[in-house]
Amino acid sequence: MLARGEQAELFSEVAYAYDGSLEGLLSAIFAAYERRENPTDVEPRFRLQPRLDQRVSLIDVNLEHAERVRAGLAGSCGPAAYSAMKAAALCSEAGSGTAAYRFVRYAYDAAPSRRRAFSDVAHPDVAPLRRIWKRVGTERERMLQFVRFEELEGGLWFARCNPQDSVIPLVMDHFASRFNTQAFVIYDETHGVAGVYEGRDWYLVNVADGGSLNIPPATAREAQMRAAWKAFYRSVSVEARYNPELRRHFMPKRLWRNITEMQEDLPGLSRKGSPCA
């Protein structure tokens, strides 16, 4: 193993690999300034594909550094820019971390005004971050639309979803205020994250191992409600306007397996181990 200085001589470029969390991303940005390096890629460890002639530097989460970057960004670039940084950390698209890093570089080193850097919508370093922000926002909206709760024995409400970006932290506020009378869990099966609301405040739980999920059976009324909802769904469609392309546009097929009214249409994808199966 080479020492860091020798490695730096061997390779001309560097990539930062963080742990995939927002704090990790902010720590990586801090590290770039601290070490006076300009990484070509800033990606989560599990997604990083090192390029030729590139040294990989693992970045550990440092909460103190992350907090300094957060305060600086939110203060000087505005809350919208910081919200876009959060979206970049939750986004599962390759290059989202890099886009966030490039924006910070532009805002702090090149932009005429930090305050207005994020408004420069057509700049090549700002546009990618704004696109990611929009993408995560769209996915969040889809979850507000298509999350379906089931009533379980014991008074718990349970929802399963499969968003492409890990948007559970962004939807919990909405559901926790709207359904503040019921305790509920929203489980994201793609990212192994669950949002839990118990009646006062909500928190996130890492459920990396989906097999350990122990869900109580659904109540008797649940099946009746599902049947009623499916009957409603079937009868509101107007045959003469049949337009499945438009439906797929608004309600992507990848989400159908967790949408109650669509489940019967996909026999191959019917869920195993569902409380209502």
């Binding site: 408004s119 919508v121 009746q224 009623a228 009868s235």
Partner: protein
């Protein structure tokens, strides 16, 4: 008859109502109460025809004493099975759906049982259970039945977020022909009443908020609900009667201006009944409906006047070019505009630039000069906009003559309607129809011979029997 089956019948009867929006009001959640609303609305599902489901859209009952030619639920359709919800049953169902995140709230309409007042009272009863017993803070859209007494309209409005009265048909003559039980006066009276109530309520609330006295403000003991805070809307059927687009748009423009409506919905006429008064063609004028909505958007979001979109000499919208592009083609002397200096109002009128695009351009050009590259990055439809703009003095539409016909050929775009369904409006004008009357699944259902692919055939074939209010509401 179980709940699912009843719901199926009553949702089926309500589906021809096109309005399904949960927009126009922001109401935060309250600890201990179920529900909230957001002003943009949330669509919770999409039907096979691509329309959104945001509210539980049902009829209180599909029994009706009226005989409107175009309606499935008319009294002379004897094959239709008549059912009704009890107020509590419907309220509980709404709550059940809401808690599962299936819906954003309730859209309550009804056939007319006995008389309009009796019907409205049933609706009020339902909404009172929802609002007062369940403490429901979600969205409620209530339909005012034409001919209801003003006192009941007032009560209904305080429970609902949005009210609507269906205009049904664009003119008095058509209404007299197809809906003989309703008169224009019956429809416009509640509409006016709702407008006045909304204005009055808003004024009173504004006055209460203002600090006007030296002494400590006295707040009213009991908080009252706002009157239809999300405004009112209406809908009309397009294509059942011979009115032109010009008449329809003039009417909707007047409704926006004088009635203060939030939305005017258009519903392409769909043949569900066999009736000599109705057009014999099977064509559903979906493309026409689409163009009318485009014109409607121009009225509401693009600062257009009706007279700019359409005039009496060309009473129908161009089927091949959208109304905004059509306006631009007729006013080529105003183009091309420079994206870096043009005012917002002018950017809005460029084909290919929408409200979002125009706002982004305003924002982006404060920081830098915009060229083609930047415009594309902003998500503007540059392939349409290029003929009407210059970027830093450079015109992007070089190669195409800057005159009406050449540009029109570039801007013509067929309406994307999917590859299914009966978009028979696409047949050319003057083309002969081979069949006078066409059998459609909707007509079969109106006769009581439902052949649904997914429903058990025996369940729906049961004879309907006479529908008396007593039988329906034997609680």
């Amino acid at each position: 008859m179980d709940l699912a089956e009843k719901l199926g019948v009553l949702a089926d009867a309500a589906k021809y109502d096109v309005a399904c929006t949960s927009s126009g009001i922001d109401r935060d959640a309250q600890r201990g109460c179920l529900g909230s609303t957001t002003s943009a609305g949330i669509c919770h599902s999409f039907t096979a025809d691509g329309r959104c489901i945001t509210l539980l859209k049902v009829l209180m009952t599909n029994a009706c004493v009226y005989d409107c030619a175009y309606c499935v639920n008319r009294v002379s359709n004897e094959g239709v099975r008549r059912v009704a919800f009890k107020p509590r049953e419907l309220a509980d169902l709404t709550i059940g759906f809401y808690r599962r995140n299936y819906i954003e709230g309730l859209f309550l309409s009804s056939g007319v049982v006995r008389n309009p007042d009796f019907t409205t009272e049933l609706m009020i009863q339902t909404l009172e259970i929802l609002r007062f017993e369940h403490g429901f803070r979600g969205y409620i859209h209530a339909k005012a039945v034409p001919g209801t007494s003003p006192e009941l309209i007032d009560r209904l409005g305080h429970l609902a977020d949005r009210m609507s009265v269906n205009l049904e048909l664009p003119s008095q003559q058509s209404l007299a022909l197809l809906a003989p039980d309703k008169s224009r006066q019956d429809i416009l009276a509640p509409m006016r009443r709702i407008r006045e109530n909304i204005a009055e309520d808003r004024e009173v609330r504004a006055m209460m908020r203002r600090q006007t006295a030296y002494l400590a403000q006295t707040r009213p003991k009991r908080k009252t609900r706002a009157y239809a805070p999300a405004g009112q809307s209406t809908q009309m059927i397009v294509g059942a009667t011979p009115e032109s687009d010009f008449q329809i748009l003039k009417l909707s423009g007047a409704l926006y201006q004088h009635m203060g409506l939030k939305r005017v919905f258009f519903s392409a006429y769909l043949p569900v009944n066999d009736d000599v008064r109705l057009p014999s063609s099977d064509a559903v004028q979906l493309d026409r409906e689409h163009r009318l909505y485009q014109a409607d958007w121009l009225l509401r979001f693009y600062d257009f006047n009706v007279d700019e979109i359409i005039d009496a000499d060309h009473p129908f919208l161009d089927p091949y070019v959208d109304p905004k592009a059509n306006w631009a083609l007729n006013h080529l002397d105003l183009f091309p505009v420079e994206v870096n200096t043009a005012p917002y109002e002018m950017l809005l009128r460029v084909p290919g630039i929408g409200v979002k695009g125009a706002k982004l351009i305003m924002k982006a050009r404060r920081e830098r000069a915009l060229g083609e590259e930047e415009l594309r990055r902003l998500g503007v439809a540059y392939k349409r906009a290029r003929y009407f703009v210059t970027c830093n003095g450079r015109y992007g539409g070089v190669g195409v003559a800057f005159e009406r016909d050449a540009l029109r050929a570039r801007l013509m775009a067929p309406i994307e309607g999917g590859r299914h369904g009966r978009r028979s409006a696409r047949t050319c004008e003057g083309q002969l129809s081979l069949f006078e009357e066409v059998e459609t699944p909707e007509k079969a259902r109106a006769r009581g011979q439902a052949r649904r692919l997914d429903a058990a055939p025996a369940a729906l074939a049961e004879p309907a029997g006479p529908a008396t209010p007593e039988r329906l509401f034997a609680c």
